[in-house]
């Protein structure tokens, strides 16, 4: 099952997601990137129905870009989170998207922030959040070790602790994870944590 979690540190926010694309018992690929870079200073980590996940996050990404083109300034993280919640809420009673989202962003004025957005459009600003079966382990791990104002090293150490916990305790644990970070210098990929690499195709 898909594991997504994230936390807010001193001047940054970090999110991690598993990278397996699964249909029933088959693993299609194990290097699927589920954390989209929304704009220069925002990350959207999504989990849920794969078609909805890709379609919905791309829709949000294009609308965020459109706002910037039209108005000349980027949306704040709070505004992007509220826009995302609005789209989910509007679709909820017609054609719901089964996507759970953790939106991490950095604003110059307000610093780093993390927003928890449920698939039924529950929005809440949090310091640490997680979705999926992995959340039972990662949230507990973060409750124990998290404190406000963590450095990047401390936060990545905590993320690794969560990943180890998920790998050892979840029965269908995803083997590989991607970690992305957002701070004043922008949103970027931080690292991959791979324990299984895709089998290489033999050349013809």
């Amino acid at each position: 099952m898909e594991c997504v979690f994230g936390l807010v540190g001193n001047d940054f926010a970090v999110v991690a997601a598993d990278t397996s694309a699964v249909h029933s018992i088959l693993v299609h690929k194990s290097n699927e990137d589920k954390i989209m870079i929304l704009d220069s200073h925002k990350l959207i980590a999504a989990s849920g129905e794969s078609g909805d996940r890709v379609q919905f996050t791309e829709y949000i990404q294009k609308n965020v870009a459109l706002y910037q083109f039209r108005n000349g300034i980027p949306l704040t993280t709070a505004a992007a989170a509220n826009f995302t919640r609005g789209e989910l809420a509007t679709a909820l009673r017609k054609n719901p998207y089964f996507v759970n989202i953790l939106l991490a962003g950095y604003d110059k004025e307000t610093g780093p922030s993390l927003y928890y957005i449920d698939y039924i459009a529950t929005l809440h600003k949090v310091d640490k959040g997680a979705f999926g079966y992995g959340s039972y382990f990662s949230l507990a791990m973060m409750d124990r070790h998290y404190h406000s104002g963590m450095t990047v090293e401390e936060a990545i150490d905590l993320v690794d602790k969560c990943i180890m916990e998920i790998r050892s305790r979840l029965v269908v644990a995803p083997p590989n994870f991607v970690i992305k970070i957002v701070d004043k210098d922008g949103a970027r990929e931080y690292a991959w944590r791979e324990s299984v690499k895709d089998a290489t195709v033999a050349s013809a």
Partner: protein, 204 residues
């Protein structure tokens, strides 16, 4: 599990002498899992009207946004704030509009009406108003809250005594309900000031 019990909530409003108190718990959960312990269920519509929304958090957020919008329009047209009785009617009408596809919320409205007379009411998810002279309750802990309020309530309490009564009723009721709790949020409103206090109860 009922859709009203998906997120967990507890709300109570009580009338005092020329004042009222409205209190809520702080837990935001997804069934058995706790997501946040600082969720705001009570919002200020204007200085003399407060709205608490229990039930499904996403619908509470949507409903709150719609009601703030309607109140702002009212303020522009009428050049004054809404009376609490009028606001209660507005909430009731908006809920009944969705009679056959309702918002899964139970609102609690508390305000100071003409001549600083306190007004409280609650309604079900389709807008059936229930006016009361003493106290109103809502949420997953409502049955415990009814009992606690009935035994602790006295007529014409001063603000300080009212605060104590509401706090004790709230904390003892949420301690018997696994879906609500993690502290309390109490607003005591008199004609001259609004006092907001956060309670620390059993953090489980």
């Amino acid at each position: 599990m009922s859709i009203f019990e998906y997120n967990g909530s507890a709300l109570v409003a009580m009338v005092g002498k020329n004042c009222f108190a409205i209190a809520s718990d702080r837990r935001l959960g997804v069934q058995l899992q706790t997501i946040a312990t600082d969720f705001q269920r009570i919002s200020k519509i204007h200085d003399r009207v407060f709205l608490g929304l229990s039930g499904l958090a996403t619908d509470a957020q949507t409903l709150y946004q719609r009601l703030v919008f309607r109140h702002k329009l009212y303020q522009l047209r009428e050049e004054r704030d809404m009376k609490p009785e009028t606001f209660a009617n507005l909430v009731s009408a908006i809920l009944y509009e969705k009679r056959f596809g309702p918002y899964f919320c139970q609102p609690v409205i508390a305000g100071l009406g003409d001549e600083d007379k306190p007004f409280i009411c609650t309604m079900d998810s389709i807008g059936a108003k229930e006016l009361a002279k003493d106290f109103v309750v809502a949420g997953t802990a409502s049955e415990s809250l009814y009992g606690a309020c009935e035994s602790m309530f006295k007529e014409d309490m001063e603000p300080e005594e009212l605060f104590e009564t509401v706090s004790q009723a709230l904390l003892s009721s949420v301690d018997r309900d696994c879906l609500s709790g993690w502290g309390g949020h109490v607003y005591v409103v008199t004609p001259t000031e609004v006092k907001e206090r956060i309670l620390k109860g059993r953090m489980d």
